[in-house]
């Protein structure tokens, strides 16, 4: 991202969807939200490439959509409430999407949640993640 560093930049594994991200991701997010409606999903699923032509997103964003690269979509200005609509189109739930974004199996993720979720300890600062 461009611009000065932000006070929340040192939180690990997190994108804060601020005005800069919102600006970069605008057309990507508007594409995603269009999939909220079944009639649009039908058109998209029939021909993804030409549907995407209607949204002037960057080539990288477009490729990330086609690749369903969920983390890359966030990196490029997507917001989870928007990208989850693309996931829902593909039959992926919020929880399964979370498993994909964190790089574990759906069972592993579900099990982590059943045992109290991801602990806050060791997950507050990027410096705590450096030894991984």
């Amino acid at each position: 991202m461009t611009g000065p560093s932000k006070e929340y930049d040192d939180i690990p594994g997190t994108f804060v969807f601020d005005a800069d991200r919102s600006r970069e991701g605008y057309h990507l997010n508007q594409f995603c939200i269009s999939l909220r409606l079944g009639k649009n999903r039908d058109v998209f699923n029939a021909d993804q490439e030409s549907y995407l032509d209607k949204y002037p997103m960057t080539p990288a964003q477009r490729q990330a959509v086609l690749d369903r690269d969920w983390n890359e979509l966030l990196q490029l200005g997507g917001n989870i409430y928007y990208t989850s609509k693309l996931a829902a189109n593909d039959g992926i739930t919020f929880q399964d999407l979370a498993a994909m974004m964190t790089g574990v199996s759906r069972d592993e993720y579900r099990d982590m949640m059943l045992h109290g979720g991801r602990s806050i300890d060791g997950n507050r600062y990027k410096s705590e993640w450096e030894n991984e």
Binding site: Y8, V16, N29, R36, S84, F94, Q95, M113, N123
Partner: protein, 283 residues
């Protein structure tokens, strides 16, 4: 006169709605989530509010990225449940108390809170899930047992309004309701939270100790809760935990001193910590 008698804090996880709509609330995964709302439903039946003032957020459903109001007050006659990508929830249309809604709009704007007024709006799980857990299952052809005034708060694009701003707005809403001449029992809902992160590599974050302290502050020291900074919400409760600022609108609308009549906390519902509290005004 209209009076605010109580406040309800409540998570609004979409999967809770799905569990109710598909009839799996007795399954072992969901049973402890719903167990904690049994008392709430009984309380609600005795409370019989005429109007619920419901603070929630839209999850990129009715509002897309083209227009992002910080505070949007629902002034339409009714609000249909929105299709969020898997069809609208099979719950009743939400009916407004339009006259009270317009009175609140006029009053708080003159009180220097510059609201957006929504005369057309659909509502998503952020509003309908708290209705379902507090009032029980109601079908499409049924009616909710109360009128509802929705207040949608932006918590999706950073920054959400500060906790303090939400708390002060709650106080202004209270002044507006107090000055409305019709005899009405109003209960205020603050929804969302508690700790959760839905995105990227820290998804699944839960901070139960922090959540419990927040619930304590709701009862005992709302002023302190109103001073929690955004950075603390983001770091300690996950990127989506910042939804908890909406509870402060509810708390601002209550008396300084309240009685906690019920509390419920459970992990997990999908990716989220479920928190719930009922606070009654003493006067």
């Amino acid at each position: 006169m209209a009076r605010v008698t109580a406040g309800v804090g409540c998570s609004h996880v979409p999967a809770i709605g799905v569990a109710m709509d598909t009839g799996i609330t007795e399954q072992p995964y969901w049973q402890p989530v719903f167990e904690g709302f049994k008392k709430s439903r009984e309380w609600m039946k005795e409370q019989k509010p005429d109007v619920v003032f419901l603070v929630y957020n839209d999850h990129c459903t009715a509002f897309d990225a083209s227009c992002i109001p910080t505070f949007a007050l629902g002034c339409a006659a009714e609000f249909k449940p929105a299709d969020e990508g898997w069809g609208p929830r099979p719950v009743p249309v939400v009916k407004n108390h339009q006259k009270l809604a317009s009175h609140i709009a006029q009053s708080v704007i003159l009180d220097e809170f510059d609201l957006t007024i929504m005369n057309e709006m659909e509502v998503d799980h952020g509003l309908t899930v708290p209705m379902s857990v507090m009032f029980g299952q109601h079908g499409v052809d049924d009616e909710w047992p109360t009128l509802v005034i929705p207040l949608a708060v932006n918590v999706v694009q950073y920054p959400a309004p500060t906790g303090n701003r939400c708390y002060q707005l709650g106080k202004a809403i209270r002044r507006a309701i107090d000055s409305y001449p019709e005899d009405l029992n109003v209960v205020v809902f603050g929804t969302g939270g508690m700790s959760h992160q839905l995105q990227y590599k820290r998804a699944g974050l839960i901070n139960a100790d922090w959540d419990q302290r927040f619930l304590d502050l709701m009862t005992e020291d709302p002023k302190a809760a109103s001073q929690i900074q955004h950075l603390e919400y983001l770091r300690e409760t996950g990127s989506e935990g910042i939804e908890m600022v909406m509870w402060l609108v509810m708390r601002g609308a209550l008396d300084e001193d309240v009685t906690e009549v019920h509390r419920h906390y459970h992990v997990p519902a999908s990716n989220t910590a479920v928190g719930h509290i009922i606070l009654e005004n003493q006067t």
